[in-house]
Chain length 166, copies 2
């Protein structure tokens, strides 16, 4: 999916940066910020969407929601079979409680970030996701007691922006 190159110019970088912070801005406001007409902005955004580069979502503040239990889990698989990994990944993608899942290099195969409505609910989910299927050799849970920062902003440039001072 989304194997298209899609060349980005400076306008694109600035637009994507702005939209990752706030996707509710109007085309006019975005255009003013980058020096483009609303039409031009809209055409570019349409292109991002068509290429599967961009989607818009609502982000909720976990602290405004009562009884939200977050947990981080590192997972080591039993064997390195492609089949087992594929099944595991499908399970992660399908589970609504899984917020994020990353394949890692090193001692642990995966990092999973889970959300549940209580610790009891978390145990239930962990049992279902990591024990019942039998592919998991070992997993370790660390409960989150505070979310310090929450976002998904990605840099769109190849190199970090130059700073005045190193």
């Amino acid at each position: 999916m989304a194997a298209t190159p899609l060349t980005l110019d400076e306008f694109d970088h600035r637009l994507l940066d702005l939209m990752q912070r706030d996707a509710s801005r109007t085309l006019t406001s975005l255009g003013d910020a980058v020096g483009l007409s609303p039409s031009a902005v809209q055409r570019r955004i349409t292109r991002y969407r068509r290429h599967g580069l961009l989607r818009e979502v609502a982000v909720l503040d976990p602290n405004a929601l009562p009884a939200t239990t977050l947990a981080t889990v590192w997972v080591a698989m039993e064997r390195d079979t492609l089949r087992l990994h594929t099944a595991f990944r499908a399970r992660m993608r399908a589970a609504t409680e899984v917020q994020q899942c990353y394949a890692l290099a090193g001692e642990w195969d995966y990092l999973v970030i889970l959300v549940a409505s209580s610790v009891a609910h978390y145990r239930e989910v962990a049992e279902r996701l990591f024990v019942d299927e039998g592919n998991v050799r070992r997993y370790e849970t660390r409960l989150v007691f505070d979310t310090v920062k929450l976002g998904l902003n990605l840099p769109t440039r190849q190199s970090p922006r130059r700073r005045r001072k190193a």
Copy 2:
């Protein structure tokens, strides 16, 4: 911030669920989905925003972006001083390379998810965030080589939805 209770009814739960998946839907479309008029939907969304519960952001597909290096870092602090923790958290929130930061229970104090444009860039960032300040006792990095799932969807209900079968 956002210490308001804010009672949610079934309409709210369904709306928040839909918007976490796709925030670009129109009020009419959302209203049709939950059985409410566009105006009613709009009033509710306005309320979410006023309470700081909801914001809208654009999410980019990391696989559509070349040269995106993701890394997970667990961090143990030198001492348990409130002052040191506060400073650390402020640094995490300020750094654009930090996608997420969670305070953990157990052996490690924090889990940080970082994004950089290259491994070299990552090293530079890690040096700046975890070494230069001197509050960090130990940190361990695991590079991400594949993003299996990426989202921030939170359940808004106290209990998980009942299933037909346990």
